[in-house]
């Protein structure tokens, strides 16, 4: 049950001081003291004095104080795959499914990808360069302009290799480039590497 609760906790975006205390395995008082002193940033619920802490801020706080984040990050890593080819999406899903640590969602257009990055908050995005509605480098740039997604990794895949375009993508914020067809093992190792697993 606790595991379940913890499991629920790990995927939450906003935490109460009690939840934060559980995750950090420290007392709620300490959390409150840190919150009040500003070392742990958050907000109060409008019309009440209840404190609330966003997920990113909590993780930052935990890392800052060398508190293991296993409980928060030890859960499945969210990976969003964006490609207009369904077969490719299925292939990626099957490849990534070999590793149980990944939770995978897919999108077929740039628009869907944009929605899912907000809702699903992926840790890593595998992005086809040529989408029906938008180019990969535009997606990269949009993602990078959003501070909330600063930590998200991006791997661009494409059937066309053009060094100039690759350089441009890397400048736009992509973390890596993989040419189709790809070696599945190499892809997996690259993903785990980027997610620092």
């Amino acid at each position: 049950m606790a595991t379940n609760q913890m499991g629920d906790l790990t995927s939450k975006m906003i935490f109460t001081t009690g939840e934060a205390a559980d995750l950090c395995k420290i007392s709620q008082q300490t959390i409150i003291r840190c919150f009040d002193s500003g070392r742990l940033r958050g907000f109060r619920v409008p019309g009440s004095r209840f404190r609330r802490i966003p997920r990113e801020e909590l993780i930052r706080f935990m890392k800052e104080n060398s508190i293991p984040t296993d409980l928060l990050e030890g859960g499945k890593r969210r990976i969003l795959i964006v490609d207009d080819d369904e077969q490719i999406l299925e292939l990626f899903q099957d490849v990534l499914a070999q590793d149980e640590r990944f939770e995978v969602k897919t999108a077929q257009t740039g628009y869907d990808a944009g929605l899912l990055t907000e809702q699903f908050r992926p840790d890593l995005m595998i992005l086809d360069y040529m989408l029906p509605d938008v180019n990969g480098n535009v997606v990269c740039r949009t993602v990078r302009q959003n501070p909330a997604m600063a930590g998200m990794k991006i791997i661009i895949v494409s059937g066309v290799v053009n060094q100039d375009e690759i350089d441009e993508l890397l400048r736009a914020g992509a973390d890596d480039f993989v040419k189709k067809p790809f070696n599945t093992e190499k892809l997996l190792s690259r993903v785990t590497e980027l997610l620092a697993l």
Binding site: Q87, K180, P181, T184
Partner: protein, 816 residues
């Protein structure tokens, strides 16, 4: 002295007969050298007058009108003559009327009587009174006698400057002051009158030829000359001068100088004096061709006067000013319908008769023998002058022949399509041949195709016309355009005035003062200028055709040179165009291929990714090292091969730009060998591991190039050699050629080699001689492409069974 003569010769061009002779041919020796300056001066004035006269037609018309009016204002005949004319014209007049008129003038009476005594009818010497004379001779004879006396007397006024000295008279030509010798003129007129009378008398049956009429007509036929001399004495003496010099027809020079001839002037005078029509027409028309005379009643009378004039002139009696004696009197007589056989006897009687009549008119008192001798002398002189004129014409003709010969020789020596220098040499040889050995140089515009420079080509020649030196010079800014150089005194123009600086470009420092310019003109200007040191040239009108020939030849050669250059440029452009077209076509097909490959890369790599990915996943589930797992792995590998092929196709069609950087060739070669080793290891194609021996023949330079591309290209060549199953191995020989500024990398194998077909297609994409094509045939085309983007090239030499040598050549300064 000669120089003084040469100048006016060229100035006086308008008169075709006035030029030419003097400077070239023999001068009439009898005139002597002392007469020359005066004659030259006179000629120059004539030329001036001519120039003024030919100025414009309107002024000339006014001039003629002026002359005619002056003729009209000549004094009328004395009353006695007029009266006599009207009396004799009327049938009702009696001898008494005439006698009264004549007797009133004692001097006249005396002369009439003297005349009657000497006339053919005056055989009786006892005619002492006018009345007897009238009875004896008849009205008309009296009238004619009176007319003769009066007219002669009227013009026989004393010369104002007294130049008509006795010594000069009777020579039959103008004296040094140029005045008209009246005595000689009247002697001529009288001789014509007598001759005409004799001719008429010899044909008694001809009612239209009364002898006494013929006498008056002959006497007064040249009255127009007196009229012109009376009105314009200076002009008339020039006319005489010119007619004498050219041995020409005086009428021609009268018309040229004063605008009208003595025929017209005489007609006006006769009209004014109211002379009978018959007389008027004889005065007017005696010089015309008999055939062209209008159908007059007195046509034959006019003809007789003309015939008499001709006979007298041929006998050289007196002086008429006319020197043309072309016609044969016998023939003319037959045309007129006369008995030609009688002319000889008439001519023999003229001298005698002339002596008698002259005395009667108070003209002269020379004995007939003297007269005869004088006539002979004059005839001799005329003959001498004629000979001199012929000599001059002969000399001129021989010069002309020489010029023509030179033109012919020049043309026959000309080779069609010769360049300007060749033609200039021919011109110099030709000039030396015609003008004599000496200094020669030709100045002509240099290469006209380049408009930025206006260089001149100066070619200098030795005395024998051998080319000495020919070079291009840059004329100073003030130098005129050769084309527009216009020399008014072509043969004598001095170099000093126009191109003083040109001596800087002439060898042997010739004396500039002696060098003259001869323009060689063509249709549109001066094609070239011939510099020469000849003090005397043939007259310009003779030299001009030759100079034009030379000029045209040079101009034609220049045009030909230009056309040839243009042709060469055109051929070059065509070549470049063909190459560009070739490239364009190639580029176009490459562009299409590139577009296709790009599309294919996108569309095909997705399914290939699925195939390869699925195969890998499948392989992961199959038993390790099982056949199934290997099959799945093969599927994966082949999918990647296909993908690689698409990639290289795309790279070939749309090659990446070279990113040049300073590159150490040694490091680059190491990198290439590493690539080869990696490729061999990965593909297992060169599995036999043929040894690669690297020989570096010279110090390797640092070159600015794209190291990645070039090492790839070298690797492709080595890989190709390694895969050719070499018997011993592969040699890579690297050499930098500093002088040729290029680097060569030779890759030599002693493998299977290539046959002609393979060699021809070795650089084509996807062409592979290897069975079942384990490699995709893009290696050499790709290498070729990479090298050519560095302005280098690859050459293949191969023989089946012997091996292949691939030579990669790179310029050391590829961006230059």
């Amino acid at each position: 002295m000669t120089q003084v003569h040469a100048l006016p010769e060229h100035a006086g061009t308008p008169a075709p007969h006035s030029g030419g002779g003097v400077g070239v041919g023999g001068r009439p020796s009898r005139r002597g050298t002392r007469a020359a300056p005066a004659a030259t001066l006179t000629r120059r004035r004539t030329a001036e007058a001519l120039a003024q006269m030919s100025g414009n037609d309107a002024s000339q018309a006014r001039h003629i009108e002026l002359i005619l009016r002056q003729i009209d204002s000549l004094p009328t005949l004395p009353v006695v003559a007029t009266r006599l004319l009207s009396l004799t014209a009327s049938d009702e007049s009696s001898a008494r009327d005439i006698m009264e008129v004549v007797s009133a003038d004692q001097a006249l009476t005396a002369k009439i009587l003297a005349l009657c005594k000497q006339s053919d009818r005056g055989v009786r010497t006892d005619v002492m009174s006018v009345d007897k004379a009238v009875v004896l001779l008849g009205f008309n004879a009296i009238r004619n006698a009176v007319l003769s006396v009066q007219v002669v007397g009227m013009f026989d006024r004393p010369e104002p400057d007294g130049a008509n000295k006795p010594g000069a008279s009777g020579t039959g030509k103008p004296n040094d002051a140029g005045h008209f010798d009246r005595t000689a003129f009247w002697r001529h007129s009288l001789a014509v009158a007598i001759t005409a009378e004799f001719i008429a008398a010899a044909h008694p049956g001809s009612a239209d030829l009364p002898p006494s009429e013929a006498f008056v007509c002959g006497l007064l036929h040249d009255i127009g000359k007196l009229a012109i001399d009376y009105v314009l004495p200076k002009s008339f003496s020039r006319i005489l001068e010119l007619a004498d010099l050219n041995q020409g027809n005086i009428s021609e020079f009268e018309r040229r100088i004063v605008g009208i001839d003595h025929h017209t002037a005489g007609k006006r005078l006769a009209e004014q004096w109211g002379l009978p029509h018959r007389l008027q027409d004889c005065i007017w028309l005696h010089g015309s061709n008999y055939e062209t005379l209008p159908r007059l009643d007195h046509r034959r009378m006019v003809g007789v006067v003309g015939l008499a004039d001709l006979m007298v002139r041929r006998a050289h009696i007196g002086f008429s000013g006319n020197h043309v004696l072309k016609q044969d009197p016998q023939e003319l007589a037959r045309k007129i319908g006369l008995d030609a056989s009688r002319l000889d006897s008439i001519g023999q009687r003229v001298h005698e008769e002339l002596e008698r009549r002259s005395k009667a008119l108070g003209l002269d008192d020379k004995a007939s023998r003297d007269l005869f001798i004088q006539s002979i002398q004059q005839a001799n002189q005329a003959l001498g002058r004629l000979n001199a004129a012929l000599d001059r014409r002969g000399a001129m003709a021989s010069r002309q022949a020489q010029i023509l010969e030179a033109v012919t020789a020049f043309h026959s020596g000309a080779t069609p399509g010769s360049g300007v220098p060749d033609v200039v040499n021919s011109v110099a040889v030709s000039a030396a041949g015609v003008l004599g050995g000496g200094f020669y140089a030709v100045v002509c515009p240099g290469d006209k195709s380049d408009e930025r420079t206006r260089a001149w080509l100066i070619s200098q020649f030795s005395d024998q016309g051998k080319p000495m030196r020919s070079h291009l010079i840059e004329p100073p800014p003030e130098a005129p355009d050769i084309m527009s150089v216009d020399l008014h005194q072509p043969a004598a123009m001095n170099l000093m005035g126009i191109l003083p600086w040109i001596s800087d470009h002439l060898e042997g420092a010739p004396d500039l003062r002696s060098i003259k310019m001869l323009p060689l003109s063509c249709g549109w200007g001066t094609a070239a200028i011939l510099l020469h040191d000849r003090p005397m040239l043939p007259p310009w009108q003779m030299l001009a055709p030759l100079a034009a020939t030379w000029g045209s030849a040079i101009a034609a050669a220049a045009q030909h040179d230009g056309a040839r250059r243009l042709g060469e440029d055109l051929a070059e452009s065509n070549r470049a165009l063909a190459e560009a077209q070739d490239r364009l076509l190639r580029n176009e097909s490459l562009t299409r291929l590139g577009e296709m490959a790009a599309g294919a890369a996108h569309e095909m790599n997705n399914p290939l990714a699925v195939i390869s990915g699925r195969a890998q996943l499948l392989a992961g589930t199959l038993p390790v090292n099982s056949r199934e797992q290997k099959a799945a792995q093969t599927v994966c590998e082949q999918a990647h091969r296909l993908s690689d092929l698409i990639t290289s196709l795309r790279l070939y069609a749309d090659p990446p730009k070279a990113v040049r950087q300073q590159t150490d060739m040694g490091i680059l070669l190491d990198e290439a060998l590493k690539r080869v080793a990696r490729e061999v290891r990965e593909t297992r194609d060169g599995g036999k591991g043929a040894p690669v021996d690297l020989k570096i023949k010279s110090k390797l330079p640092v070159v600015r190039l794209d190291p990645d591309q070039i090492s790839q290209a070298i690797a492709e060549l080595i890989l190709n050699a390694v895969q050719a199953q070499p018997k011993t191995g592969v040699q890579v020989i690297v050499q930098a050629d500093k002088t040729a500024k290029q680097l060569t990398i030779q890759v030599v194998d002693d493998g299977v080699g290539m046959d002609g077909h393979t060699l021809a297609h070795a650089m084509d994409p996807f062409f592979s001689s290897k069975p079942a094509g384990r490699r995709i045939g893009m290696g050499l085309p790709r290498a070729q492409q990479l090298v050519s983007t560095h302005s280098g090239w690859i050459q293949l030499r191969s023989a089946p069974g012997v091996g292949t040598t691939a030579t990669l050549t790179l310029p050391l300064d590829p961006e230059a």
